[in-house]
Every structure is written in structure tokens, then in C-alpha cells.
């Protein structure tokens, strides 16, 4: 506990004055004959005891502020963290500790040379330092891969060879969550080093939960740990015992959830019924599992399925393990492509469902119902304008591509948890889906009188942090965005103009657009499974456009 007795010379004057007044009244009442003005009694009783009393009173007040639920709610950040933890434990809520981010880094060298990256090798990006926890070795042939830390050195174009290493941030916090493609600079570059970049979005980095965030969870901690009611579903998931349910390891990071149940227009229609009714024994949980949409890259085998304008049309399938929670295909490139390559045009994005596998599987009767869930599959067609198909055979020829998808993590784990026999509601099932994404796009003009180069990062981080923590808000006021931006501006700059818009990607693939100067409100389209109960706001870094004059 960090609360200690305040040194007697550092007490607030008002506390000492109040203590002296109280002691004067007490002593005078008990010993009315004692003179307490400019006397020895005053020196001993009021000066000495009054100061001690004030110190103890201040200490008691600090403890009270940190243990009283009402006081914590009034001013969370002034409460002692250790005492707040003790109070939160009474509500079965545990503070989330800070964690370190980590992920895979692609290292590109210009020679096909076996290379070793020792443990403790450091890389920096965006002011954050990352390092390898183990020693990695790039091998020239698959037959030489003997250990888990051996990586195959693959061709990545002319005079480019790549392999991956795993790194972890040296410090805790969300600052370590690099986005896919972010460049890293090695402290000690390996021989023939060309570049290093994040293979996929880094995960795991988390700031420690503040008192404000912790006390906001207290009401959820009180709820019964079952999925019998809307209020209890998300707390049940977030507080699942990891020892008992290993899939729950990262459930505490879930940002928000919204339950759609019987009676809601957004609930999937029961197509097995003669009548057009909503499913009576189903609940659907839309979850925002991370503050920002994640990117991950897969290597897929595509088959030549046709031609278009002389170019090959290639098709590949993302199975449910790859497509769980996936919103969009962001990029498809050859395995030898540069990190900056924009990729090929996606001409078809078909969503299906895969209901095979072990364990309980919710009754999903149509593809739209399974979109964004853990059972989603995606069949993708692209037009490859680089590959010569003259000697290839349609339906047979195949080649590999790197596919980057935008997704929300944890869907498969959440569904596994909800489908457990000791967790799921005996009256029906719960289908977990990634929240329908509403992509916020913000363009602004900033006038800066400073001669120093303008730093956009604080503004970007402020916008991402604000939108990232929003749950199923349904509305996003432009004035609130303006407030966040203004607070992040340096003293030399002013915000002269701002424009915001919204693109909601419905599960069917339809894009719904919202443009308004003041308010971005989620449209109500229950047949598209779009409403304020299903849609969550996100913002990508590339959708924050800043023009500085």
C-alpha cells in the first residue's frame, strides 16, 4: 500500500487548522480551566498534538478515498492503486496489468546467406524498442530446419531474401502495437541487411488499467457469471478463469460486446421455419475485441480458374481458421513482392460457412448469418497482371500468394468458450461475431506557425485512442473528435477545418456511407444486420488525413 503518513511539516494548512480547532474544542470541553492561547498548554496540546492529529486525519482520509466505492467513483485517479485493487477484488474484478507487445518481423537481406540473429538483438520502431527473446537462424533449405527457431530463407525478389524472427517489446504498453508493414531498424544489422518490417500487426501490448477503467468494470464484476442475460454475457467472457478455460487467455482485452437476442430485429431469421420469424433459441454476440482492426498475412495456394482481359484469374480459399472475424481482404501479392507493393485487384469475395469440426456448433442456416463469425470462410478471386499464364492450365495450375486480411482477433476462442457445455445456455446457443465495422475517415487542416516540423503522431494517437475505446456507441459526434484533436495540438497550431465520414461494411459486403458535418450516426438496416447494436467504430491510420499549412 503506497499510502503513508504525511510528514508533519508537509500537511495542508487547512487540515492543521481544522485539527487545532477540533482539539481546542475537545480540550476546552474536558478541561475548561486550561488556557489554550499563547501558553505552554497551547504549545503541547494544540501545536504538537494538533499537527499529529492532522497527519492521522489526512491518512485516514486518503485510505477512505481509496476504499470507498463512492469516493473512488468521484475521483478515481487520486485513490491509492493498491487499495482500489483490494476494493475491486470484493467485486471479483482484477486489474489488468500492463503487457508487452510482440510479433513477427520480416528481415530482408541481399544475399542468400545463412544468417543468425542472436537472442537480445534489438530493433526500434516508432520510438519503441523490441528484442528477440531467442536466437534465430535463417537456413537455406527446409532440410536444415532442426529447431523451432530455425527459419527458412526465402526468395523475395531480385537480390532479396527474407526470413522472420519473433520479437517482444522491451517495455509494456500499447505503444508496442506495431501495424503490419511498419519498418524496424536493427541496432546491429545482420550482414547484407536491406530492411525489416512487421509481418503482421503486433499483438499483446497493453497499458496497465487505470483506476478509472477499473472502477468502470465493478458493475460487471457483480454480475452473475453466466450467459443467461444480456448484461452478464460479456462479464462472463472477460472474467473466465484461464486455468479452466485456456482459450480465455486474452479475453480481458475485449473492448465491448453487444448481445442480440430474441425480439431484436437484427437477429438472424430462422430459414428452417415456415414462418419468417427470428430464431427463438439463439443469441448473437457482436464483439469489439481490439481497439483497432488487426492485419495479418497468410500464405495461400491459389488455383488458376479463368482469364480476364488476357490475365489470369486466380482463386483461393481462406478456411475458417484463417477467416474467423475477417472483414476485408486488404492485399494480395506474390510471395516475392516488396513490402510496399499494393497488390492485385480482388474481383470476388464470397463468404461461406464451415460447420464441420468437433464440439458444439450453433445452428447456422445461411451464409450471411455466419459472416464475421468463427465459422466464416472466404473464397477470393484476384486478377494477377504479372504472371504469364500461357503455359498454365486452368483448373490445375497453382501458385502461392501472400494475403493480408483485416480482422478482429479472438473470435474462434470466444466461440469455443461460449459453446462449452458448462457455459452455454441450455435453452439455446450463442453465436459470436466480430462487430460490424464502421470505418471512420477524418480529414483536417491545421495551421501551424512554428518553424519546427509538425509532428502528426500525437493527433493520430489521440484519435485512435478515442475511437478505439468506443463500444457500440451508435453515434460519433464530430465535435468530440475536434476536442480530442485540439487537445493534442501544440500551442503553435490551430485546427482550421475538419471533415469526417463513415463507411459501414455490412456482413453482406454492402458498404453503407454516412456523411454529416456534425454527427456520424450508424444507420438502422436490420436486414443488413446493421444497427447501433451491431456496429462498432474503428479508424485506420491511413484514414486520418492531416494537411498542415
Amino acid at each position: 500500500m503506497s499510502i503513508t503518513l504525511t510528514p508533519l511539516v508537509e500537511l495542508p494548512q487547512t487540515e492543521v487548522d481544522d485539527a487545532r480547532t477540533l482539539l481546542r474544542a475537545i480540550v476546552s470541553e474536558k478541561y475548561p480551566g486550561i488556557d489554550l492561547d499563547a501558553t505552554l498548554f497551547e504549545s503541547l496540546l494544540l501545536d504538537v498534538l494538533g499537527t499529529v492529529y492532522a497527519a492521522v486525519s489526512t491518512y485516514v482520509q486518503d485510505v477512505d478515498n481509496s476504499t470507498s466505492l463512492q469516493k473512488i467513483q468521484e475521483d478515481p485517479e487520486s485513490a491509492d492503486a493498491d487499495l482500489v485493487d483490494l476494493r475491486a477484488a470484493n467485486f471479483r474484478v482484477t486489474r489488468q496489468t500492463a503487457t508487452r507487445a510482440g510479433g513477427e518481423v520480416v528481415i530482408v537481406i541481399s544475399r542468400q546467406l545463412a544468417t543468425t540473429i542472436p537472442a537480445g538483438s534489438q530493433f526500434t520502431a516508432n520510438g519503441t524498442t523490441f528484442q528477440t527473446e531467442e536466437s534465430f537462424a535463417a537456413r537455406l533449405a527446409e532440410s536444415n530446419l532442426l529447431y523451432d527457431t530455425d527459419r527458412l530463407l526465402e526468395s523475395a525478389g531480385t537480390n532479396r531474401y527474407k526470413f522472420t524472427v519473433t520479437v517482444t517489446a522491451t517495455d509494456t504498453g500499447a505503444a508496442g502495437q506495431l501495424k503490419q508493414g511498419a519498418k524496424l531498424i536493427p541496432t546491429t544489422p545482420p550482414a547484407y541487411f536491406v530492411e525489416a518490417y512487421a509481418a503482421s500487426d503486433f499483438t499483446g501490448g497493453r497499458d496497465g488499467q487505470s483506476n478509472t477503467e477499473l472502477q468502470a468494470e465493478l458493475t460487471s464484476g457483480l454480475s452473475v457469471k453466466s450467459i443467461a442475460s444480456r448484461l452478464s454475457v460479456l462479464p462472463t467472457i472477460k472474467t473466465a478463469n484461464v486455468d479452466e478455460y485456456p482459450e480465455a487467455a486474452e479475453f480481458a482485452d475485449i473492448v465491448a460486446g453487444s448481445v442480440i437476442g430474441f425480439g431484436d430485429e437484427e437477429l438472424s431469421v430462422d430459414t428452417t421455419s415456415l414462418f419468417p420469424i427470428r430464431k427463438a433459441t439463439r443469441a448473437e454476440l457482436y464483439v469489439k475485441t481490439s481497439q483497432q482492426i488487426q492485419l495479418v498475412e497468410y500464405t495461400v495456394a491459389a488455383t488458376l480458374v479463368g482469364t480476364y482481359d488476357g490475365f489470369g484469374v486466380w482463386q483461393f480459399v481462406l478456411d475458417k481458421s484463417e477467416a474467423a472475424g475477417v472483414y476485408e481482404i486488404k492485399r494480395v501479392v506474390k510471395t516475392t513482392a516488396d513490402a510496399d507493393s499494393t497488390g492485385y485487384e480482388v474481383t470476388s469475395d464470397f463468404r461461406g460457412v464451415d460447420l464441420t469440426g468437433e464440439g458444439y456448433i450453433p445452428a447456422i442456416t445461411q451464409n450471411l448469418e455466419g459472416a464475421y463469425s468463427a465459422y466464416q470462410t472466404i473464397t477470393v478471386k484476384i486478377v494477377d497482371t504479372d504472371t504469364d499464364i500461357n503455359s498454365l492450365t486452368i483448373g490445375t495450375s497453382s501458385q502461392e500468394y501472400l494475403v493480408t486480411v483485416a480482422y478482429q482477433p479472438q473470435l474462434a476462442n470466444i466461440q469455443t468458450f461460449l459453446s462449452r457445455s458448462d457455459v452455454r445456455n441450455p435453452n439455446g446457443d450463442v453465436l459470436a461475431k466480430a462487430a460490424v465495422p464502421a470505418y471512420v475517415r477524418i480529414a483536417m487542416k491545421i495551421v501551424d506557425d512554428s518553424e519546427v516540423e509538425f509532428d502528426e503522431d500525437p493527433i493520430r494517437l489521440a484519435i485512435q485512442a478515442y475511437i478505439g475505446q468506443l463500444g457500440f456507441a451508435g453515434r460519433l459526434y464530430v465535435s468530440q473528435l475536434t476536442s480530442e484533436i485540439v487537445q493534442a495540438l501544440p500551442a503553435s497550431a490551430v485546427l482550421s477545418n475538419i471533415y469526417a465520414s463513415l463507411r459501414v461494411r455490412a456482413p453482406s459486403g454492402t458498404n453503407l456511407y454516412v456523411r454529416n458535418e456534425h454527427l456520424l450516426e450508424v444507420p438502422y438496416e436490420p436486414d443488413e444486420l446493421v444497427s447501433d447494436k451491431t456496429v462498432a467504430f474503428f479508424v485506420n491510420d491511413e484514414d486520418i488525413i492531416i494537411e498542415v499549412q
Binding site: 508533519l8 511539516v9 500537511l11 494548512q13 492543521v16 487548522d17 487545532r20 478541561y31 475548561p32 480551566g33 486550561i34 488556557d35 489554550l36 492561547d37 499563547a38 501558553t39 505552554l40 498548554f41 504549545s43 501545536d47 499537527t51
Partner: protein, 161 residues
């Protein structure tokens, strides 16, 4: 002279920290800094004795040294310690400055219930002496009761009072 407890009734008292030297006519002649008498007993006082003690407490307290009471006290001791006092005129000067602070403090503590012989009126310097390393100041203290009778301090059981 005899002790008269009734003279102290209805008054609030202080501990005696300066022992009085009283004449045969029951006049307070001077105060000596002694906490216990010959018998080892502590005593309490009211009236002129208490007023004199208040005066001396404020005079001897260095202003700013009492935590959370920065205005209590005077600069009398700091001025003496600084070496400013080289002759009697200097001693008069620093005492005069201190008396202003003392008057302000003592007057702020007086109420309508304060007996007249405990209300401060004036401090008259009766004698000064300054020699290298030594200064002596003799002050005659006056209360608002010019006919006040000096009340001898008494030993009492403070707990049961």
C-alpha cells in the same frame, strides 16, 4: 502571604514556566525561567503571572518557527543573534519592534470574558544593559487593571480539575 484558591476560580490557567519573585507586599518583582519549584512540583497560574508568561512566550518565539503558525512570535531573538545589538539603543529598537508583534498577538487572543488583569496594556522598559556577549532588558508589564493584585501560582491536581 497565603495562597487563596478562590482567586483563581472562574479563570483559565497556564502552567508556570517562569518562577515569580514576589515581594513581601505581594508584588510581582520578577520572573525567573524555572519549570519546577524547590519541591519538584508543577504549578498553574492566572492573572498577571499568566499575562507575563504569554508576553514572554511570544517574545521568545522566533517568528516562523511554529509549524503552521507563521505569524506567531517576534524577530527579537533573531535580531539579537544576528549581532545587530551593539548598544542599549539597539536593544531598545529591537524590543520596540517586537512589542508591536506581541501586542498584535495578545490583543487577538483577548475576548470579552478575559479578566482585565490578563489583558495586555503596555510594556515599559525599565532598564537596559549591553556588554560584549551579554544583554539585559528589564521590562515592567502593565495590564488593563491598573490596580490588579498579583495572584500567586498554586499547585493543583490538573487531572481532576
Amino acid at each position: 502571604m497565603s495562597l487563596d484558591l478562590s482567586q483563581h476560580l472562574g479563570r483559565v490557567y497556564d502552567m508556570v514556566v517562569w518562577r515569580p519573585v514576589v515581594t513581601a507586599a505581594n508584588k510581582l518583582q520578577e520572573l525567573l525561567p524555572v519549570l519546577l519549584d524547590e519541591t519538584g512540583e508543577a504549578q498553574i497560574c492566572t492573572g498577571l503571572q499568566k499575562l507575563a508568561q504569554k508576553f514572554l512566550i511570544v517574545l521568545h518565539t522566533e517568528k516562523g518557527t511554529v509549524p503552521y503558525r507563521p505569524d506567531f512570535g517576534t524577530d527579537f531573538i533573531p535580531n539579537l543573534r544576528s549581532g545587530k545589538v551593539r548598544q542599549e539603543a539597539d536593544l531598545m529598537s529591537v524590543f520596540t519592534l517586537a512589542e508591536i508583534d506581541i501586542r498584535e498577538v495578545l490583543k487577538s487572543l483577548e475576548t470579552d470574558d478575559t479578566p482585565a488583569d490578563e489583558k495586555y496594556s503596555a510594556a515599559v522598559v525599565k532598564g537596559t544593559l549591553v556588554t560584549p556577549g551579554y544583554a539585559m532588558l528589564k521590562v515592567e508589564l502593565h495590564s488593563e487593571d491598573s490596580q490588579a493584585t498579583y495572584l500567586l501560582p498554586i499547585s493543583i491536581d490538573l487531572i481532576s480539575t
